[in-house]
């Protein structure tokens, strides 16, 4: 099976393959931030820090223990989530700009820390050995992408997800509805970090080399742009945003140094014409159901009940 996959991937141009994997990792990170910023409404300007923690944790685990990659990723996710919960408890008491500044500071601290620790090989960066798995990395990345999309969708449409959206909407009202705002904020932060950590682990093993400077402020802003471009809170939006922004710099490469200019213009136009993001205020499920000529499940249930009584 693994050999077969490897062989199939061999037919794809390695350059395109790299773009495809980058898109996958972008989607994972965008979805991670979307849980925190889109769903729970907590602006984080330092999400790359969790990617960084994930990348280095995962790399160190591979170097020191060499456990199977699935366990490696899970362990990485949980460690990153634990760090997020620890840091989230104090800083999530802040809101808005103050929280954003705090997350920004946290990301810088993580970067400086990793630039000075022996275990992360200081500023030289870390060479990451091949992952302990027979499945090729691109396939692993996309399996994780699918798993992430499914779990985040499940979170969106659940009691848990509604509580997060309530926190986003109005913290005082959420408290008055019996929602423990602090707990849900920390949980959402930890989930976002878990996913970002796993994304970081994948990045480390796909790239084979990581440096703390790869996960600086620019990376955080990149991730945030993906979420905002797609539309805050929209899963489909995050996927589309991540795809566009991961691929755009590559497709604009022929413009050499002007490509960042075009990239910037694209973002500005976007903000003018669709300020809520590409998928802002649009429900992907609704569109699919409408094309199929079906009604949403909830609507059907409500109508059945009405005619029943």
């Amino acid at each position: 099976m693994a050999d077969f996959l490897q062989q199939q991937l061999g037919y794809i141009n390695p350059y395109y393959l790299q773009i495809i994997v980058n898109i996958g990792i972008g989607i994972i990170l965008a979805l991670a931030l979307n849980v925190v910023t889109g769903l729970t409404g907590q602006l984080s300007l330092g999400h790359a820090a969790f990617m960084s923690i994930g990348a280095f944790t995962s790399a160190v685990i591979t170097i020191k223990f060499g456990i199977p990659f699935t366990y490696n990723l899970l362990l990485t996710g949980f460690i990153t989530a634990a760090v997020a919960a620890l840091i989230g408890l104090p800083i999530l008491r802040l809101t808005g700009d103050y929280l954003a500044i705090c997350t920004l500071g946290f990301a810088e601290i993580v970067k400086v820390l990793f630039l000075n620790l022996d275990i992360t090989n200081k500023a030289l960066g870390l060479s990451v050995p091949a992952a302990n798995t027979t499945i090729p990395m691109p396939v692993v990345v996309w399996i994780v992408v699918l798993l992430t999309i499914v779990s985040v969708t499940c979170i969106h449409n659940s009691r848990f997800g509604r509580a997060l959206m309530a926190v986003r909407g109005d913290e005082i009202a959420a408290e008055a509805m019996g929602i423990n705002v602090t707990r849900y904020k920390v949980q959402s932060f930890a989930i976002g970090a878990f996913i970002a950590g796993v994304g970081g682990g994948l990045y480390a093993h796909f790239m084979g080399y990581i440096n703390p400077s790869d996960f600086g402020f620019l990376k955080s802003v990149d991730i945030l742009s993906m979420v905002v471009l797609g539309g805050l809170g929209s899963i489909t939006g995050s996927v589309i945003g991540a795809t566009i922004l991961s691929a755009a710099p590559e497709f604009l490469r022929f413009m050499a140094n002007y490509r960042m200019l075009v990239y910037g213009c694209l973002l500005v136009c976007m903000m003018i014409f669709r300020p809520n993001g590409l998928m802002g205020g649009i429900s992907f499920t609704d569109i699919v159901l409408r094309t199929l000529g079906r009604k949403p499940r909830l609507k059907i249930i409500m109508e059945q009940k009405k005619s029943g009584t």
Binding site: S151, C154, I155, N157, S158, R159, F160, G161, R162, A163, M165, A166, G169, D170, I172, A173, A174, E175, A176, M177, G178, I179, N180, V181, Q187, I191, L298, K299, I301, M302, K305, K306
Partner: protein, 259 residues
């Protein structure tokens, strides 16, 4: 039995004595009103009951258990539903989602439940919450709006939706902060019928309101607050004739009002 009891409740904000030594009992199954001029401390009292503020001194007990110092979400989950003077809906969510959020504390499944969304246990709970939400929407005649964004509803319906959301908590007592504000006479009379229906389901109602006709027509008992102090309490008829209340509302000279 008194479902809610306030004993010598006082709160100070710096030099301002917002609520001063208030004693109040709300009997189970009644409609209790709280009236008073602007700035009398009515909303502050609601915020004290729901745990947004902690009293400087005095105790508040709900169903015989002290609640002062307990966090807001715990008090809510224990059965204190409320609406807000300045409407606080989740405007970017549908009417149904708003009510489902109100039903939050009647469910148990958390993150694990979200990830096992299709398992029969989680489905069962979601079904129950949905039933509850539907009942609450019916109570305020908003079922036909279930899938609209709550921010798009007209003002009167937003107020009703807030009530439905508070009812989804399955509260023992519901605190309504100026439920009739900004409503026209017809909406007000509908609201009165609605509040009576709510009481008939066994929920105690405690409301703050400015509209005298509304308050007199609906309340079993009325308490009057002025400058943070309770100046009168009794049946609507007694309050209407109480000289202190008339003085607080209409004034009998500034000197007397300060006395």
């Amino acid at each position: 039995m008194a479902i809610l009891e306030l004993n010598n409740v006082t709160i100070r904000f710096g030099g301002l004595l917002a609520v001063n030594d208030v004693n109040l009992k709300v009997e189970e199954g009644t409609i209790q009103a709280l009236i008073g001029p602007n700035g009398a401390g009515k909303s502050t009292l609601f915020n004290l009951i729901t745990g947004i503020y902690t009293p400087t001194s005095g105790t508040i007990s709900f169903k015989g258990k002290p609640v002062s110092g307990v966090s807001t979400h715990r008090i809510a989950a224990a059965g204190v539903g409320r609406t807000f003077q300045n409407i606080r809906l989740f405007t970017d969510l549908t009417v149904l989602d708003n009510v489902l959020i109100g039903a939050h504390s009647r469910g148990k499944w958390n993150l694990a439940g979200a990830l096992m969304k299709l398992s029969p246990w989680v489905q069962k709970e979601e079904g129950e919450l949905l039933d509850l939400a539907r009942e609450c929407l019916q109570m305020v005649d908003l079922t036909y709006r279930a899938f609209e964004l709550s921010g798009n509803l007209p003002y009167g319906e937003q107020r009703r939706l807030e009530i439905a959301r508070a009812l989804a908590l399955k509260p023992a007592i519901i605190l309504l902060d100026e439920p009739a504000a900004g409503m026209n006479p017809q909406e007000k009379s509908e609201l009165m019928a609605m509040i009576k229906r709510i009481r008939a389901t066994g929920v105690t109602v405690f409301l703050v309101e400015h509209d005298m006709k509304f308050v007199m027509g609906i309340s079993d008992r009325i308490a009057v607050l002025d400058y943070g102090e309770k100046i009168a309490e009794g049946a609507p008829e007694e309050i209407r004739l109480n000289p202190k209340v008339i003085e607080a509302y209409l004034g009998k000279g500034a000197a007397d009002a300060h006395a």
